[in-house]
């Protein structure tokens, strides 16, 4: 359980600068999620924390101690890789026990700890199998088991669920959250899955091109995105952006409105539109409309709505829910 601080962290690969000055405070016991588009530097930032890459400049502190120059083993962090990175030639038991063995713990201690971890993770029946003989979810659990046995100061996860199918992903998501609760450990979690970020995080860090765009709780990011980028990135379906006359009327270069904050009325309303296509999800319907004034928009409606393509309708934007942005993409509050 630890606090991790990043001070002006930069990382260049040759001439390519991947992390451009990140300051971040990762609280003790928190669940922090890094999100951002592919290639924005999430993994790199995590690996910098882990000690698998050198910083070009800046400092990393764990519990106030400067670990910038320490190797990965001395930082006492554990990492769960996207590929699980299990040792294929070792049994599950030895995989989980490996960090303890490296720490020169006695056989008895190792055995007890492995047993306990296996119990927590429902792996008791598989201890003597090789990773190759396990399902994806089981492998994932072994990787987590290997991380928890050494009681690290913090857990680092790099897209741990992206190789699993949808149902398993939901289940593992819950398990990891539960683990977080029961261990009370600091966890840093990289994902580019919206839902994972929103549901799991205490705090989300939105990264873009190696910079922190915004840090905040999921609802803060949803309700008060500080930039156009964050507004577009958080929320699904994406926020609608409108520029031009309507935006100027609100005193902004661009305004944004989420699909769920657009109301549909009959054709007599202020903004006219026609339905292009509707996606029925059961609980909701996403209606894609074309509007002469505003261009293409997405609207979220109830599940049982009739929405034949070509139907004309009118839209009303909830004025309290309009986000305003200036020409440089910064939010105007």
């Amino acid at each position: 359980m630890s606090r991790i601080e990043l001070n002006a962290v930069r990382k260049n690969f040759g001439t390519l600068s991947v992390i451009n000055g990140v300051d971040l405070d990762i609280y003790d016991g928190g669940f922090t999620v890094f999100v951002g588009p592919s290639g924005c530097g999430k993994s790199t930032l995590l690996r910098l924390i882990a000690g698998l890459e050198d910083l070009t400049s800046g400092h990393i502190l764990i519990d106030g101690r400067d670990v910038t120059e320490l190797g990965p083993a001395q930082r006492e962090l554990a990492m769960v890789f996207q590929s699980y990175a299990l040792y294929p030639h070792m049994s599950v038991r030895n995989n989980i026990g490996f960090p303890l063995k490296m720490a020169k713990q006695s056989e008895a201690v190792i055995d007890a700890k492995v047993r306990k971890a296996a119990e927590t993770l429902n792996l008791k029946d598989f201890l003597d199998r090789r990773p190759g003989q396990l399902s994806g979810g089981q492998r994932q659990r072994v990787a987590i088991g290997r991380a928890i046995v050494r009681e690290p100061k913090a857990f680092l996860f790099d897209e741990p669920l992206s190789n699993l199918d949808a149902a398993l992903r939901v289940q593992m998501r819950l398990e990891i959250m539960q683990l977080h609760k029961s261990l009370g450990a600091t966890m840093v979690y990289v994902t580019h899955d919206q839902v994972e970020a929103m549901t799991m995080a205490d705090r989300i860090v939105v990264l873009n091109q190696g910079r922190v765009e915004q840090v905040g709780s999921p609802l803060e990011l949803y309700d008060r995105p500080k930039t156009l980028f964050v507004a577009g990135f958080i929320g699904s379906p994406k926020m609608n952006f409108i520029s031009g006359a309507l935006a100027s009327k609100h005193g902004a270069a661009t305004i944004g409105i989420r699909p769920e904050h657009v109301q549909i009325g009959d054709a007599s309303g202020a903004i006219h539109a026609t339905i292009r296509i509707a996606e029925h999800l059961g609980s909701d319907t996403f209606i894609h409309v074309d509007s002469a004034d505003l261009g293409a928009m997405t609207v979220r409606a109830t599940g049982n709505i009739e929405a034949a393509p070509g139907t004309a309708l009118s839209l009303t934007l909830d004025p309290a829910r309009i986000h305003r942005f200036d020409a440089s993409g910064q939010a105007i509050f």
Binding site: A73, M79, M102
Partner: protein
Amino acid sequence: MTLVAWTIGILMFWPILWTFLTSFKTEQDAVLMSQLFSTGWTFENFGIVQERSDYLRFAMNSVIIAFGSTLLCLLFAIPAAWSMAFSPSKRTKDTLLWMLSTKMMPPVGALLPIYLIFKEYRLIDQHIPVLIIMFMLNLPLVVWMLFTYFKEIPVDILEAARMDGAGIWQELSRVLAPMALPGIASTFLLNVILAWNEAFWTLKLTDVHAAPLTVFIASYSSPEGLFWAKLSAASTMAIAPILILGWFSQTQLVRGLTFGAVK
């Protein structure tokens, strides 16, 4: 189709089969082509060869030189290949290709200096110096083969080991080596075969004391009356061990000999 393939297969193998069969014949039978199978089977050729040329000593030398040089190769090549596969730098590609090009230097380019050095320092016909030449000769190939095998191991796993607190030695010995074992084994095998059959430097740099089987066979190059059965017996004894190893390694052979260009 089956018939054609079998015919070609047997034709290709014929010289080896013929040698093998001849080695059990009497010298009189050996020169009778009409006699595929001998009338008088005998093992005495093997005994004569051993007695006349001391086969076992040459075989022992072959083992020492082939296995010794290969082990030495692995000792140097495993760290080098590990480094190039998992921590490549800008120069890694050039280094690999340069190593390859040293393998392509014709031996006559180095023959005279090496020969003179060996003569000057009385190294001719000594085990260790020949073994070292063989080691340098095959080092590039071993590095290359190991490199292509190591490349297939995800770097994540080695990083996980580092996170788990493994030091460099433990990373190599407990994680990389066991995972790469099949690759290391086939590299070992192929290199033993190449070293066993190397017949330029061994012919020039050894004589009796440290000479391997290539030299042993060369001593049968001058014809002397009826000697085919003995020649065949000697040949059989020289090639049998390595042929069997070769059969085991043939699936891995291609990758090794084409430097990963064909898999």
